[in-house]
C-alpha cells in the first residue's frame, strides 16, 4: 500500500505519527517529513496507517491507487 502526504495541507497536527509511528515520521517542527511525496506502508502496518490517515483533520494523507 502506498500513501501520499500533501505538502500544503500538512499543518503539523501530528496525529498520523501518533497512531502509526512506524509509518509516519515528524520533523523537528512536528510536520510529516514525507509531505509532498509518497511512501510505501511497511507490511503489517496497514491498519495503523489507515488509522493515522483517518485521524488527520486536514485529510492530507491519501491512498495512492496502484
Amino acid at each position: 500500500m502506498r500513501m501520499k502526504i500533501d505538502d500544503e495541507n500538512c499543518t503539523g497536527h501530528g496525529r498520523c505519527a501518533k497512531y502509526a509511528p512506524n509509518v509516519f515520521r515528524l520533523d523537528d517542527d512536528g510536520y510529516n517529513v514525507d509531505r509532498g511525496s509518497e511512501i510505501e506502508v511497511p507490511a503489517g502496518e496497514e491498519k495503523t496507517a489507515l488509522l493515522g490517515m483517518k485521524s488527520c483533520p486536514e485529510r492530507a494523507i491519501t491512498i495512492v491507487e496502484e
Binding site: D6, E8, N9, T11, G12, H13, G14, A17, K18, Y19, L26, D28, D29, G30, L50, L51, K54, S55, C56, P57, E58, R59, T62
Partner: protein
Amino acid sequence: MNEDAPSAEVFEAPSHDEMIARFGRDLVNDFDLDDPAFNDKFDETLNYMVRKCPVVHSRVGRGYYLINTQDDVRRAAQDWRTFSSAKGYMPNRPEGLPYLMPEESDPPIHTKWRHVLNPHLSPRTVAGYEQPVRDDVNALIDKFIDRAECEFISEFGALLPGWAFFKNILGLPIDDLAMLVNGVEEGTFAPDPEVRGKYFGEVFAYLETHLAWRKTQPSRGDLIDTILAGVTYEGGTESPWAHKVSILVDLTFGGIATTTFVMASAIHHLAMHPDQRQLLLDDPSLIENAIEEYARFFPPVVALGRTCTRDVEVSGTTIPEGEFVMLTYAAASRDPRHMDEPEKIDVRREGIPHSTFGVGPHRCIGSNLARVELTATLEEWLKRIPEFSVKPGTEPTYVTGFLRSMRSLELVW
C-alpha cells in the same frame, strides 16, 4: 489540491416553526452565538445545525455567517485566499483592538511567524515539559485531596494550563495569572463590546510591559527572544513592535483560556459516567485516545472567523465578498457524515477526525502542549482520585460565545 467534489447533498430544510419551538429563534436566518439559549442548548443546537443547516446567518451587529459541516469547514479553513484571516477572527470585533499576529494574518506574513514560533511548541519540545507539568498536576491535587472535595475550575482547571505555559515557555510569574485569566474571560464574554475591548486592553498593556522588560535582559534563547528577534516581511521590512506584542497576546489567549474547558469537561464526564471511567482505570493506555474524544466533543473554541475575499458558494448559499464567516469547529467535529453516533462520547472511538484545534494553516500552535496537559491531568487524577462524583445538589455552569467556558464544577470523593 482538493479531491473532494463540492457537496451534492441536499439538506433537509429545517422548519421555521420547529426552530422557534425548539430554540426560541430561527437559527438559519437569525443566529446569535451570544444568545443564552445557545449556551443552555449547546449540544442540541450543534447537532441540529450540522445535520440540517450547513450555513446560517446572524443579524447581530455587522452580521456574520456560520458554516457548519466538516467538509465545508475544512475546505474554507484550507482556502485562506478566499477566507482571509487578515480582518480578524472575532465577530463584531471591538473597535481599536489591534490585529493579533499570526492568527489574524494570511500567508506570507503568517508563514514567516509560524516558521519561527512552531519549534517552541513542537511535539519534541513539549515532550520535555511532560514531567514538570505532571509535577504541577500533583502539586495542585495535593492542596485539596485530603479535603475530599474541590471546586475544579478555580482550584485546578484554570491554573494548570497557565502554570504550564508561564513556567515552561513564557517565563511569566504565575502570581499574575489570575488577572490575565479574568482579562481574557471578560474580554471574550462581557456582554458589552466596549467592556470586552477594555479588558483586552489591560492584557495588552501587561504583556507589552513584560516584552519591553525582556528586551533589556540577556537573551535566554526562549520563545520570548524569538518574538523579540522578529521576522523579515516580504519586501524586506522588519516586523514592527506592535506585531511582536500582539503575538505574545495571541499566544497567551490561546495558552490560558482554552485547555481548561476540555480538562474540566473530561473530568465532569468521568464523574458522571463510571463505566467510561472504569475503562480508563483498567487500561490507562486508552487515555490519549480519550483525550481526542473529549477534545472533539467539548471544544473550547466554538468557531473562529474569516472574511470572504470574493463571492463564494457554500452548500448552496452564496456568501458575498466582504462578509464575515465563522467556521464552526464545534459543529464540524460532530458531523454524522464522518462518524457514527457523533452525539455519543466513547473513549474507545478510533480515528477521530475532529477540528477542535482548527484546520488549515492556522491550526492551534499549542495543540501539542494542550495534549501534554490533558494527558498528565487524566493520568495523575485517576491514579490519585479514582472514584469521584459531582457534589450532590450542584451542576456545572457554562458561558458561551465564540468560545465556551465552564465557570464552576463542584466535585466530591
